[in-house]
Assembly symmetry: C2
Homo-oligomer: 260 residues x 2
Amino acid sequence: MVKPLKDIVIIGAGNVATHIANTLKNNAKIIQVYSRHLNNAHQLAQQISSECQYTDNVNDLCVADLYLISIKDDAISEFLKTIPEQLRDSYWAHTSGSVPRDVFNGFNNKNGVIYPLQTFSKEVKVNVEEVAIFVEGNNTDVENQLIRYATLISKSVYKADSQLRQQLHVAAVFANNFSNYMYIIANDILKRNNLPFSVLSPLIKETTRKATSIPPLEAQTGPAVRGDLNVMNKHLSLLNTEESNIYDIVSQSILKRFKK
Amino acid sequence: MVKPLKDIVIIGAGNVATHIANTLKNNAKIIQVYSRHLNNAHQLAQQISSECQYTDNVNDLCVADLYLISIKDDAISEFLKTIPEQLRDSYWAHTSGSVPRDVFNGFNNKNGVIYPLQTFSKEVKVNVEEVAIFVEGNNTDVENQLIRYATLISKSVYKADSQLRQQLHVAAVFANNFSNYMYIIANDILKRNNLPFSVLSPLIKETTRKATSIPPLEAQTGPAVRGDLNVMNKHLSLLNTEESNIYDIVSQSILKRFKK
């Protein structure tokens, strides 16, 4: 028999917790928010509903069907140790891309991971329903139940064990964190020349449009893929040490990759 | 007196030439396409109009008001030497981000650069009217005339001398070429794990949406900006040498940048 989906407690009030809670509230009952910063817990609870409780004390946690943990990766293990025994019969899941499921070993018997593959900043609204979510449970029954919870958040739910989730996470670091850092460097160069970042907007939009419509290998352009060493050397002379180190290692890798 | 804008000859039939010509044809008369590959010249001419001529022989070039050169950077200088004297009274401009205007020195007295800051692939349609175009002329009169030509291509036309254009070009390499290469690496990681690149689409779209709505410095997320060395080391162990070299140098730079 499939258990009903009932009350949920959100642990954490950061970027991920905020986005998930604000989507989940439409399809489930979030009864409480926990954060070690009471103010943050209060703020998020207010966004959820006027009845949603909040606390910064694990001993005041409500009894719930699912506890969803979105706190710092390296805080999860220590946090679990503080949870009262009587709450451990429920489902517990974290949302981290890099923390293995076995962080729950010895904690309880209904646990897993609900990992949304997305970048969340509090001030930018995200369409969470379209984010790919990867689920793992400590056994098939638990996994199926967590998948049901995940489908309350997004339409795109997949299974992924801890190993696969780590691979997804490192892929996401390249696709999001590192490409955004390339924008930061581009912005630095423009700033030095008194140009606004907005002159690059059409280029950045086109980069994405291409990458999501044709394979990225076919979308690659620029001096390195053409093997244009003259231009590459000229560019290196315009950059500071930090920038030119990155320019060099990425260009060499592109050169090697596209060598005819 | 401002000269009328009349007949234009497009030199080149590659990605940039194709996109510019297909926009320019709506606002100006392109009378001929030159390419050293006659087939390519023919193909592009057909896209432009049924009257548009094509050739692979510089001695058959029509007399025109503007010759717009979109060929490989390192071919421009040699190409100019082959141009018959009687055609040099017209305006000549190239579209390269990295070739200085002085490539025309000694060639004629009405020359410059019309540089579109964009990535062009033949198979992907681009809204060229919104691309930022940077113009330089060998004197103010010429520059003003080239700006008039550029406004036939795009609504966003700016002046930029050769030095500034190079800075723009290297910024564009980071913003487009390198971020796309990050997508290529992400794709490699997914492929190794039998996952389609499409699972990253919402993440990539969000990366762009953020970068074009809040400053990229505020959009940065991920293990390096959090200073999470555990996750970074775990990621390094999942990558091949090439990938981990890039992961390491970019992460170290992010770490340094965001050090609290």
